[in-house]
Symmetry: C2
Subunit: 463 residues, 2 copies
């Protein structure tokens, strides 16, 4: 937990932004896997953590803005529970560490909400993303599951986004730590990877490292010889010489700040000439787009720059022809680069994704584009100091997508499908780092950067 | 997945047991951690796996007993999804591997259920244990969340328990594998453990091993120097010389069969004289109770035998006096042994716990005892060939519980509280193995048994 004053100050600012009504923060519950008491690792809701720091299940936090009250609803454990779970600090002690004095049993919550609701007070809540949230809202606010999902408070969403988007110094320290653990994971990925190993084996080692550091993963590891599949979670392939292995993995610190890195390396430690050339297109794109990160620049323009740089590189293979700016304007890049260049990162790896990408990554006057490719760009608006973003360009040769475009002869003024066909089984490459936007430009997060150039990777894997 | 015939045969037997109505099996969904798309590792419902073998999210399986129909409801992925998740086998192909031919889109399910319901057919379902189950039942069966939880089919529960309780040869093979991986984890626990290491570090290594083997953990690891806390999940202590470290950890195979082992070792590799004597009481108890496992014996009698053996041992310390059989009849053992001696194990580590302990561990004529200690015994009924159970006696010195009993001078004809006070900070010891009940007796599962005697452990930790 951070110092008490940090949470107190965050709540004071929030109250000044949401000027009336009640703010209802649902803390998360333990989640059963195959039966109720066999639970997944508990993960608190990030916004709940942001305003209270309380990392325990079954809590609800209520801010009554009109009456300037802050109440934590939750229950202390019984002697029976102490036998099973050991002596734990009283809820009142935990709450006091966050400057919350008023602690009441959960059974008092319904009455409080009913009273407020009957007096015509607005009850602000954030978009539910777990079924437990839906069931609670259904019960507490007397609304249907459909209504619960449809009626989050836009005012509250905007207030939270306007705060969590700007990382405080304590948060940057945590993210640096998360990136450092993630970097060690990627170095281990490079040291371990060799022909004959299962993807799942290497992924298991990396996951173990995140756990050994006292936290966990910030998202499920992608570790695959099929890098062209963007969110592949299957890890049942044996890795073979000649293949590229793509690893997208990051750790979360005990305070729940994320790292998110990707590296792509040759399974046998040495790039083929073709792999090297393709890799350098992506690396060139990553370096250029990182360089473009500074306050005031629209992230969607940096995304477009990535598209142009990738297509420019593919011209060298004869796959692309014509003017690359014009090609990107026609969405040609989405044949090879279907996802976004990056996203906000913080306590959530896709920071605040549950609050809605329109609110987090765009503005009232800049709507998210919903066409293929662009719809996967989670961030479009101008960068500002304090933002933390990922920069993760990639080249993905997806046979089914190539076939689809080719069948339509789509945008053939820019694409040579005969040349492209030669590369249909190339797989995919992605390179990703985490970037802090500073007053004057940017800083790559983490104290060290995992090997990234062809030479660095080959030399690292050789030792 | 096992061979198709296994699933076909299981379903045929189930239909013969549940003679009419519809059987509705809810497959599990992906579960979001801190936002919807950042998911925990997918875990399918075990009963769903038992009858279909299908290890994918968002499926529903319906057996219409009266019309002898078996229908899988689910949706194939779109071209948009293929970009993100790669080419996957069609649902029809997967279903065919389990002998299920009739596959329909999820949107057709509501109509099917409404029709059946309107014709007065019973819709059998198992007890919901995830909030997603509640929401589905609420929508599909037009009942409230409370009703959904209250109205599972006892007939279906009993039918499923009457099948899953008897492990088939293929299942034993899987459990043997799970125990072998678990044994390796415990050997690593012993090799790694030393003063100065964090509990979380060692636990992270063991978790990584389960993942490296291609599966995962079968339950969250308990790894603690506070072994007296039965289900402690905090792992933030630095281990110190002189302490005992208790590790309760098991792997789950890719086919989702569990292992569940516990070992307790001295952090610095050498038991003190007191630790050795206490340890040998628990070991003696474990060996005796394993020996007692055979068809026809009531598990609650073996639990009582554990209580007696533990108390007999404590007599040697002057903590216990009087007749141990009489003491156990008075629940004296629950001061040191608050949990059950063991439980069924299979696809779930506490097998079928979600179906209700009364149905799994007891009988129509043997009700579960609900007093302190006994209420935590998940299994009481007679053992039968094919059952897989854990045997996990322990001694737990819980200061708050000792204080509570001492304040009441409770059962002081059996307990010398002055003597006991000297051991209040001893912590706890548990030793656990997994046992198959055979036609003639039992077999300890796994190809090797992790070091268990004082001599074995000390010698193993020294090397």
């Amino acid at each position: 937990m951070f110092a008490k004053e940090i949470y107190e100050s965050r709540r004071a600012i929030l109250k000044s932004k949401v000027q009336s009504g009640l703010i209802l923060f649902l803390g998360n519950e333990e989640a059963g896997m195959n039966f109720k008491n066999n639970t997944y690792t508990f993960r608190q809701d990030s916004t709940f953590l942001y305003y209270t720091g309380l990392d325990k299940a079954s809590l609800t936090f209520l801010i009554d803005v009109d009456n300037n009250q802050e109440i934590l609803f939750g229950d202390n454990i019984s002697i029976d529970d102490i036998v099973w779970f050991g002596p734990t600090p009283k809820l009142e002690e935990d709450a006091a560490k966050a400057g919350i004095i008023d602690v009441r049993p959960t059974k008092d919550l319904q009455n409080y909400l009913d009273k407020a609701s009957n007096s015509g007070n607005t009850i602000h809540y954030l978009p539910p993303y777990r079924d437990e949230h839906i069931l609670k809202l259904q019960q507490w606010l007397h609304i249907s599951p459909k209504e619960a999902a449809a009626k989050p408070s836009v005012e509250l969403i905007k207030a939270v986004v306007s705060m969590r988007s700007y990382k405080q110094p304590e948060e940057i320290v945590e993210i640096d730590k998360a990136v450092d653990i993630s970097t060690e994971m990627h170095e281990t990925f490079m040291k371990l990877t060799k022909p004959g190993l299962m993807e799942s084996y290497v992924a298991g080692k990396l996951h173990g490292m995140a756990l050994c550091a006292g936290g966990d993963l910030s998202y499920p590891i992608i570790l695959t010889v099929n890098g062209e599949t963007l969110h592949i979670h299957a890890r049942h392939h044996e890795m073979k010489a000649g293949q590229l292995a793509l690893c997208d993995a990051g750790a979360e610190t005990p305070l729940h700040y994320a790292g998110d890195l990707t590296r792509t390396v040759p399974v046998n430690g040495k790039f083929t000439s073709l792999q090297k050339d393709m890799y350098n297109i992506v690396l060139d794109t990553q370096l250029k787009t990182i360089e473009a990160c500074k306050p005031g620049t629209l992230f969607k323009d940096i995304h477009a720059l990535a598209g142009e740089t990738l297509l420019e590189g593919l011209k060298g293979f004869g796959i692309i022809k014509g003017d690359v700016k014009e090609a990107v304007a026609n969405d040609v890049h989405t044949l090879f680069f279907q996802c976004g260049l990056g996203h906000m990162m913080g306590m959530d790896v896709h920071d605040m994704e549950n609050l809605g990408e329109q609110y987090v990554g765009y503005t009232d006057t800049m709507k998210k584009i919903m066409t293929f490719g662009w719809k996967s760009l989670r961030l479009g608006k101008a960068l500002e100091p304090g933002f933390v973003v990922t920069i993760e360009p990639g080249l993905y040769f997806i046979p089914s997508l190539i076939d689809e475009w080719k069948a339509e002869n789509k945008l053939s003024q820019f694409v040579d499908y005969n040349e492209l066909d030669k590369f249909r089984d190339f797989s995919g490459i992605r390179i990703e780092d985490d970037i802090l936007i500073t007053e004057t430009g940017h800083r790559i997060l983490g104290n060290t950067i995992a090997p990234k150039s062809v030479e660095e990777i080959e030399s690292f894997m050789a030792n």
